[in-house]
Amino acid sequence: MSISPLALIAAAIAAWLAIGALALVRPHALRIARSLFAAGALVGIAIAAIALVALRGHPDTMILPLGLPDLPFHLRVDALSAAFLVLLGGTSAAISLYSSGYFRAEEATAPGLICFQYHVFLAAMGLVLVADDAYMFMVAWETMALASYFLVTTDHRIPETRRAGFLYLLIAHIGAIGILLCFGVLQGGRGDYAFDAMRAVTLAGNWPSIAFFLALFGFGAKAGLLPLHVWLPEAHPAAPSPVSALMSGVMLKTAIYGLLRVTFDLLHAQLWWWGAIALAIGLLTALFGVIFAAAQTDMKRLLAYSSIENIGIIVVGIALTILFKSNVKPLLAAIALTAVLYHCVNHAFFKSLLFLATGSVMHATHERSLGKLGGLIHRMPWVAWLALVGTLAMAGLPPLNGFVSEWLLLQAFLFTPSLPQSFVNMLVPVAAAALVLTVALSAYVMVKFYGVIFLGRPREPHLAHAQDAGIRERAALAALAAGCVLLGIFPVTVITAIDHVNEQLLATTVGRGGESNWLLLAPIATDRSSYSPLIVLAVIVAVVLVTIQVVHRLWHGRMRRAPAWDCGFPLQTPRMQDTAEGFGQPIRQVFEPFFRMERHLPTPFDTKPRYAVTATDHLWHWLYLPIIRATDAVARFAGLIQRGRIAVYLTYSFVTLLALLLFVR
């Protein structure tokens, strides 16, 4: 008898929990925590491998007699959850390996405790992906939120970190209410919260739309969709780097998973206008994220805003899938969905890589501000070169992975045939333009990120003593970078795997259709569109090698070093390089309406001239502060009747009783 993949996955998740519990035995022993992190990495690899098998298999279900009496946990693994389990296992394996070399004894939280929270977080994400009833889904979802809250506040001695953690927890719960209500709508009044029962229910009237928008709201809060994104740029920089990597790379994707599960699995039919609204929200989120990323001066905040951008791009893909599926264009819907899943995996890889690289930079330099870094490629060559791969991938450049998903998404946009809604037909090309603008801007952001941190000259003297990352950290970074390259040059293999999800949700495939082969990606036909990253890479490498040979043979290879020329200017200091503020200035100027800017300009008479500019988010002032003020006012009003004397409270009870007797009778 063979063991079902689901049982193996459940066992692996239990192994994560066991590792976490073991770490609690001696919470202050750093070496034990480190080896447990390494064991967690092995479990991650195992989950990815099992899920790869499960991706091809039939849906598999299981009932665990846990939880409340009469409410057992239902588990299920199908192609959709297997795809996300591969992402979870693969990415977390690298991050765990990195963590095993990263955490130090001087963190504010004991290493064993971090290890416990970390593995509970991983296990909760795994359970979210295999949950097959709303009850278990919510339990896992909330465990995930709580575990990550404690991880975000690892450095709880800093007030900003506590504040960021609180904001995160608050928005996570507002989102959870949305998800809870969504499941309430989906069960259709039958009271059965198993997903199978929900699939069987056909909702009448406007209820499917209500369910979809509740899901968009609830999962959007977790993913960082506008306007519920405010926690993301606060929480990601506050958390330790491996945790930021895990949250940005994997946790945001569980929200995408939830949205896909509700939209395409639990709901039967999709309406086109859901897609139109989601398209607008996704594009706004993407543009907003990238514009703010360009203006940031803290490296982790910059990456956090870029995560918002990438989530926006993913939601654009989901919106297109809805548009095409509701208009019965299965192939295009499948291309858009492939782009969504591909981008989820890509983002998990390159964003984790970059967050981990910032972790190494912070350990080596104790700096997070871009204005105090520079020239680290000389001191930290390993981290710098591996981060370059992530940078190019995130900038969406061929032949790396970020480009493939963007290419697929643009294909979906371009082959929009005449949809019945003429207004949408006009909208789609303009949306494609906005998407291209976002991608082009992300290249700007990445040049800023990489150039300011790793290139140029050190902006502070102490950077000259920075040390390169340790061997485990390097290995983890190298694994993620290799992933970025492989995902970039073998797109057809990846798409054939993703096709199992397409088959489940849309009953179409992309990879096997068209004229694709292992070398050439052509989702429809070669004369419609094609892309072969391997050939592009081979041609560039060949030209580079031949050119080097020819130049050195025909002429010579002599070279000498001299001081920088810089148009002959004699005085050059590292402070004359562009700062992060300077590099972001054109963006701030062009997109001025997006920012709420406060400038402090010096006058000619200042003895100590000072220039300061802060660019903050309009939404915080337009949306959140009014809500905060209203809550405050209501609380103060409630405070008025709160007198703290028992006689007054007894009077309230008496008056209430009288009023009830009078009106209700």
Partner: protein, 315 residues
């Protein structure tokens, strides 16, 4: 992929490599004539490149390997683009390796590498140039893609050979969508190739330079490769423009004879295009850098208009 196909592919790249510096020389020559100056020889760019190759490379003390590999990568990306752009023939084997979107990606790859190399030395001019180049790039890239999208919508394909085939076999008429796209493409090409009114290829005036500021620290063979690559970029853009808007006379097979037959037509078209470029550069003045968004925004809107016109009128 046959041997003959591979050979004709190599032939196209070789012709592109040879013609590119002459195109730059020709534009400079025309501009000198238009400005009443004595024109330098059309072969001057060749002599410059050869001179640079013979010199000793001098690089800054704190240059990292990124700085040294960039010229080769940029040159490689441009050669790869030259293999993909249907300049002489449409049925070449490498053309399917990248469609119009991937081609724009290749140009972006080259741009990002030059910008990174410019920031590598840590001089004020280098980072200024990098910032401005990325600034112009993020405005120009969407406009360029919109132009290509318009052509793709007309031909129902993003593959450049198919686009050229479709456009070459249409009735000879003025299509409003392509007219809009053509103007937009011209504006984008000026910006992307560091020409007036966005940049000035002949200047080393500190406050105005973009491309020159980025390659300021390069010398000898590295500079030669970068110069050659930027000539190739101009050649590639010209060929994309010709392929989209004047696709007539391109070889539709992949044999060497057809390619050699198409070469004179291409040279004639490039000569006219180069003269027009010189005319535009002579007639316009350089814009302030913060006027560039207006210029490129106009290009972008024209391209979007072209696309909408196509969707509305179907032509």
């Amino acid at each position: 992929m046959t041997i003959a196909g591979l050979l004709s592919q190599l032939l196209q790249v070789a012709i592109a490599l040879l013609l590119a510096p002459i195109l730059v020389g020709w534009v400079n020559m025309c501009r000198a004539w238009l400005q009443n100056k004595r024109a330098p020889s059309v072969l001057l760019p060749y002599r410059t490149i050869h001179k640079l190759f013979t010199k000793d490379a001098v690089i800054a003390e704190n240059a990292s390997p990124v700085f040294r590999v960039t010229p080769y990568i940029v040159f490689g990306a441009m050669c790869c683009a030259a293999a993909i752009v249907p300049s002489l023939a449409t049925a070449l084997p490498f053309a399917s390796a990248a469609d119009a979107i991937a081609l724009v990606g290749l140009f972006a790859l080259a741009r990002v590498f030059i910008a990174l190399a410019a920031m590598d030395i840590g001089t004020s001019f280098g980072s200024l140039g990098a910032r401005r180049e990325m600034f112009v790039g993020f405005l120009a890239e969407p406009a360029l893609l919109m132009v290509l999208f318009t052509a793709s919508l007309i031909s129902g394909s993003t593959s450049l050979p198919t686009i050229v085939d479709t456009l070459a076999h249409r009735e000879l008429a003025i299509y409003p969508s392509l007219a809009f796209a053509g103007v937009a493409f011209t504006m984008v090409s000026l910006a992307e190739n560091a020409r007036i009114p966005i940049d000035n290829p002949a200047t080393h005036l500190e406050l105005t330079m973009i491309h020159e500021a980025m390659i300021l620290e390069y010398s000898a063979r590295h500079l030669a490769l970068l110069e050659w690559a930027s000539a190739l970029k101009l050649f590639n853009y010209s060929c994309i423009g010709l392929a989209l808007f004047f696709p007539f006379g391109i070889a539709e097979g992949a044999n060497g004879v057809a390619i050699l037959g198409a070469a004179p037509v291409l040279i004639a078209k490039l000569a006219i295009g180069g003269a027009l470029l010189a005319l535009i550069e002579t007639l316009s003045a350089k814009l302030r850098i913060f006027r560039a968004p207006e210029f490129l925004g106009t290009a972008f809107l024209l391209a979007v208009l072209g696309m909408l016109v196509h969707l509305l009128l179907g032509s």
